[in-house]
């Protein structure tokens, strides 16, 4: 029986890639550890190593093929003693025939184990569902002039462009963090910045979050405009003292004398199958701190327009990105200087029966739920908060006054969450508009489990939103 060699997943979030180059040909003998092919993703090129020994009986997917799904059979391997021709012709057994040997594995310093190709393809995890929900295309921001030309950009590119544009405009702006320069960013968000701006302004740090968060904060106090990248916000726990005690309180404590215009940015929230310590939404933590601005964009246009605004702000900003969204493409207006206002929510979809409030990757879930609800005759309005502090409660309350029902969708824990805060605001200021209790649809109140089935159960999804909406609309 020939062994099927399958397209590997080379990172926790990879779903497909380009088979850039075959380094073996049909008839070649390979042994464990031989490099067989080069695989490209949007983040990196990696080498693909053989695990089993045998002869390449057939190459199924030619080099240069784009969008090869993880788990697709790309070649057949005849085992020792097996006839190559018949192996190529015959069926095959599915095997863990190959594994990935990452050359430029873009991940964090606690690298999660590689999911095997077959496993990644067969299991549908909760985060995969989140990503699927984020396929929902948003309407253009109301801030974009009509007739503006749009270009498709990934969230990753949009963030990079925002930093590059602000760095071109203002020499005080610099980027500092782990792997931001030579490595081009652990998640490739800073790709190309070192080449354009040099190592004076794009600075690799040691693994020393507390230290470099303090260095950035001190530099901001001294008059510069640092953009501090955390490889993920999970690691910013090491640095939270400077974000809160040093950066957020400076202006107030000094009676307005000393400012701290700094941006702390990086991926936040659940990533794919990386377990509890790498999967947490810190939005509610930072949003509880006076003196901070907290932004959590959903799509690429917002990522760009809001990051530019964050860098220009005189106040310290926590800018929460989402790793699962980095590779998603959206329309971004082609404007010389596209800056969005901080603190303004956006109506993603108009509706009259119920208001769904969300932010970051949760917006995709809310939009997917709205589609499902539409099929059942329920017309949901979807609000993307965009900024978590200050909260645009006006937009939420105005929508509530129209729909009289509200569900908050949050990829994060329920307790002391943004959802809790919205609920409190609605109780205090929108009570008379409520025809049903506000419901929170959030992740489960547990550390995020690793197992695919448990992860799926733990994370928010559109079906849970649909169920909550049916409750508040009394159509269950």
């Amino acid at each position: 029986m020939a062994i099927e060699i399958k397209m590997p997943a080379l990172s926790p979030t990879m779903e497909e890639g380009t088979l850039a180059k075959w380094l073996v040909k049909e008839g070649d003998t390979v042994k464990s550890g031989d490099i067989m092919a080069e695989i490209e993703t949007d983040k990196a090129t990696m080498e693909f190593e053989a695990v089993d020994e045998g002869v390449i009986a057939k190459i199924i997917v030619a080099e240069g093929t784009d969008n090869v799904k993880v788990g697709t059979a790309i070649a057949l391997l005849a085992e020792e003693g097996e006839d190559v021709a018949s192996a190529a012709a015959s069926g095959s057994r599915s095997g863990d025939a190959a594994n990935a040997a990452p050359k430029n594995e873009p991940t964090d310093h606690n690298a999660p184990p590689m999911p095997e190709g077959a496993a990644a393809a067969e299991q549908e995890s909760g985060t995969q569902k989140l990503v699927a929900a984020a396929e929902q295309e948003a309407p253009a921001s109301p801030e974009i002039p009509e007739g503006t030309e749009m270009v498709k950009l990934t969230v990753r590119e949009a963030l990079r462009d925002a930093m590059a544009e602000e760095m071109r405009a203002d020499d005080r702006v610099f980027v500092m963090g782990e792997e931001v320069a030579q490595y081009q960013g652990a998640y490739k968000v800073t790709q190309g910045l070192l080449d354009e701006f040099g190592d004076r302004r794009v600075i690799d740090t040691p693994i020393t979050e507390y230290g470099f968060a303090g260095v950035g904060t001190g530099a901001a106090m001294g008059g510069l405009r640092p953009v501090i990248e955390f490889m993920t916000f999970n690691f910013a726990m090491q640095a939270i003292d400077h974000i809160i005690n040093s950066a957020a309180k400076t202006n107030y404590m000094s009676g307005g004398q000393m400012r701290c215009p700094i941006v702390f940015r990086g991926p936040n929230g659940a990533a794919s199958r990386v377990g509890a310590q790498h999967s947490q939404n810190y939005g509610p933590w930072y949003a509880s701190v006076p003196g901070l601005i907290v932004i959590a964009p959903y799509d690429a246009a917002d990522a760009k327009g809001l990051l530019k605004a964050a860098i220009r702000s005189e106040d310290p900003v926590v800018f929460l990105e989402n790793e699962l969204m980095y590779g998603r493409s959206f329309d971004v207006p082609k404007l010389d200087d596209f800056v969005l206002p901080i603190g303004k929510a956006r109506i993603m979809r108009e509706g009259k029966d119920v208001t769904l409030v969300s932010y970051s990757i949760g917006v995709g879930v809310a939009l997917e739920a709205a589609e499902k609800l539409a099929a059942e005759g329920i017309d949901a309005e979807v609000i993307d908060l965009r900024t978590l502090r200050p909260l645009d409660t006006k937009t939420v309350l105005k929508s509530l006054a129209k729909t009289n029902r509200l569900v908050v969708v949050e990829e994060g824990w329920p307790t002391c969450s943004i959802a809790s805060e919205i609920t409190a605001v609605v109780m205090e200021e929108g009570f008379d508009d409520l025809d049903a209790p506000v419901l929170r649809v959030t992740n489960e109140d547990v550390p995020l489990p690793y197992a695919a089935n448990l992860e799926k159960l733990a994370l928010v999804d559109a079906n849970k939103v649909v169920a909550a909406v049916k409750k508040v609309t009394y159509r269950g």
């Binding site: 610099f174 303090g214 530099a219 202006n251 000094s254």
Partner: protein, 351 residues
């Protein structure tokens, strides 16, 4: 130096890696009579100011935490007198009154901050531990032990980034010297050759814990060795030694050779804060230091040797007392912040 307190360092011990360039052994500063008088006035102002602050605290006019600088005056005065006020920056922890006074900042606005008044340098919203003067490039006044070391490294990063020729003087205590972020900062400062002088004000006690009860290497000037940062131990009770060490350190840093550590061996006469009963040391220990090593008495003797009369010094003392009393009266009488100030300056911009 303090037989009952500190283990006297062996000044003749070989540096751990002798083949690496090190700053020269600092020489005591040769002060003119005017300079000496100026040091005396500044130190005496800090001493009298702090005594008055202690008094106002006892009267309930100053609240919260209040950390006095009494005994350590020579450090701030000696070091800061060597700085270029137009370029260099200073940052410190919460024991910050002396560092501000050494800049010549009006004692009235400092005392008014201690009493929480609108006229205080932070409009009464910062308090004793959170005072700043960006005009003097004094960046605080920070309440979290050790935070100012990373922040100061960031100020030094800014000096280098802007190529403004400035050096940052970052003060911290023997207690903060055990914080992890201090070493994270040492690493980056040397790696990037940042213009910073790390000043460890070793007053022998981290709150109530003696240095050698908390530090495996209690010769703190050696704490930079594994980062290749040279350290110098300095008699922090001698303002001329402090100034001499600052000159040497500044020459090293301004030459682009990276950071340097100054361990200032000093002593605080009062408790860690006003609420510290100081049971961890004896009255005799404190009295012994006061009698033998007081930094102000030391300069007073030098002045007398230079022919300054008792009457001249008395006149100076009276002027300083008057200044401090005026500051205290002002701090007591000037109004509290307007209640509307509660909500201002949380953010700079409106969103």
């Amino acid at each position: 130096m303090f037989p009952t307190v500190a283990k006297a360092p062996s000044r003749t011990s070989e540096p751990p890696i002798p083949n690496r360039e090190r700053p020269a052994e600092p020489q005591p500063f040769q002060a003119t009579k005017e300079q000496l008088l100026d040091f005396y006035k500044q130190m005496l102002l800090i001493r009298r100011f702090e005594e008055k602050a202690g008094q106002l605290y006892g009267l309930g006019l100053i609240g919260g935490f209040c950390h006095l600088y009494i005994g350590q005056e020579a450090v701030a005065v000696g070091l800061q007198s060597a700085l270029d006020g137009d370029k260099d920056s200073v940052i410190t922890g919460y024991r910050d009154h002396g560092h501000m006074l050494a800049y010549g900042i009006d004692p009235k606005v400092i005392m008014a901050e201690l009493t929480g008044r609108a006229a205080g340098i932070s409009k009464g919203k910062g308090g004793s531990m959170h005072m700043f003067s960006t005009e003097h490039k004094f960046y605080g006044g920070h309440g979290i032990v050790g935070a100012q070391v990373s922040l100061g490294t960031g100020l030094a990063f800014g000096h280098k980034y802007s190529n403004d020729g400035g050096v940052c003087l970052a003060y911290f205590g023997d207690g903060a010297a055990n914080q992890g972020q201090v070493y994270e900062s040492f690493n980056m400062a040397e790696l990037w050759k940042l213009p910073i002088i790390f000043v460890i004000e070793n007053n022998q006690y981290a709150m109530g814990t003696a240095v050698n009860r908390a530090s495996s290497e209690d010769q703190l000037y050696r704490r930079g060795e594994s980062f290749r940062i040279p350290g110098i131990q300095v008699d922090g009770m001698d303002v001329l030694a402090c100034r001499g060490a600052a000159e040497e350190a500044l020459a090293w840093v301004r030459a682009g050779k990276g950071p340097v550590i100054l361990e200032m061996k000093t002593y605080r006469y009062r408790g860690h804060s006003m609420s510290d009963p100081a049971k961890y040391r004896s009255r005799e220990e404190v009295q012994g230091v006061r009698d033998k090593s007081d930094p102000i008495d030391h300069v007073k003797r030098l002045l007398e040797e230079q022919g300054v009369t008792e009457a001249d010094l008395k006149g100076l003392e009276q002027d300083i007392r008057k200044t401090v009393n005026e500051a205290a009266d002002f701090a007591e009488q000037t109004p509290e912040p307007d209640v509307a100030e509660l909500y201002t300056e949380v953010l700079v911009e409106r969103y």
